[in-house]
Amino acid sequence: MTEEAGESADTAFEKRSRALFQDSVESVDFAMRSRLTQARHGALEAAAAPKRSGRFLGVSMWKPVAGMAAAALLGVALWYGPLSGTLSGNHGVTNDSQNNLDDLDIVASSDPGSVDAIDMLQDDLDFYDFVDKAANVGPAA
């Protein structure tokens, strides 16, 4: 095929495809035409409306603030552990992590005046031994 013939075929192809596209545009149904009109009016109204306050350069200023607040809250929650506090009389709220630290203090304490952890464990074993023997003794005849 010569160059001229190729160009001519290209032109014919372009014309035909353009005509087909134009036909398809004309055959857009009325429902869609109506939606397009509504979309246009909506866009023009929205563009004409004054921008909401609290926005800077099109970005809502509340979003970063809310994000930072959420991040801070999450950080606090992770730092102090789960928020499963219990009310304890006059002491107000005492959370589990504080209790755990107290328990650890008691067990790890090497103060000679305090109760030794091994003694506590021995006491427990004696108690369970006693319960076991009591259970095995039958009822008095």
Binding site: D10, F13, S17, L36, R40
Partner: protein, 205 residues
């Protein structure tokens, strides 16, 4: 001391700030409305060709209208067309990217492997339209469907160049502005698009 030489004659007498340009704004809005009314159906069809889904196409067109009106409405009206199509093509590309990401994500979900994008063919789509019986209409419809199908197979830039140049009638410079590339690139994309389409459709057209 007021500077009368800079004031318009109509309110020079009162020596007050110029009145709000309500009339100009209204006229400008009317011009924009007229411009959008002229191109909205073609823009919708172009978006539909690229996205297949009419609702997605409508969303993208509306978004482009809003962005044009908000950000570029005050520009000279001669600039609106390439700007509008640039926004539209960006919107189409964004949506296609989101679809791709969604597809990749959906593959990991159970039961979604066979049809990740709910794009299973509706059996009704394959049934011949029972509306107008005119063979000419039917042939045109089929020819357009083939053209659309072939255009979807093109690389995105070639498809954009072909639609903007051939369907929308933008010249090379306007197309380059709309596509955000050089005029040389537009010519190359367009030429390749025409040859690819002709190769694909040559036998049936």
């Amino acid at each position: 001391m007021p500077r009368f030489d800079t004031l318009q004659p109509a309110w020079m007498v009162w020596d007050v700030p110029a009145p709000a340009r309500g009339g100009a704004v209204l006229e400008h809005t009317q011009d924009l409305n007229q411009f959008l009314a002229e191109i909205e159906r073609r823009a919708f069809r172009m978006a539909q060709v690229a996205l297949r889904d009419p609702d997605d196409a409508l969303d993208v067109v509306q978004d482009a209208m809003l962005k044009l009106a908000r950000s570029y409405g005050t520009r000279p009206s001669s600039e609106w067309r390439p700007l509008f199509y640039r926004i539209l093509e960006n919107g189409i590309r964004d949506l296609q990217r989101r679809r791709t990401v969604r597809k990749k994500f959906m593959v990991w979900l159970p039961g979604a492997k066979d049809d990740p994008d709910n794009e299973a063919l509706d059996p009704l789509d394959t049934v011949a339209d029972g509306g107008p019986d005119a063979p000419e209409l039917l042939m045109q419809d089929q020819a357009m469907q083939r053209l659309e199908s072939s255009m979807r197979a093109l690389p995105a830039r070639q498809r954009e160049a072909f639609m903007l140049r051939n369907f929308e009638g933008l010249d090379v410079a306007e197309t380059a502005k709309a596509m955000g590339c050089s005029e040389g690139s537009v010519k190359t994309h367009y030429s390749r698009a025409v040859h690819s389409l002709r190769e694909q459709l040559g036998e049936v057209w």
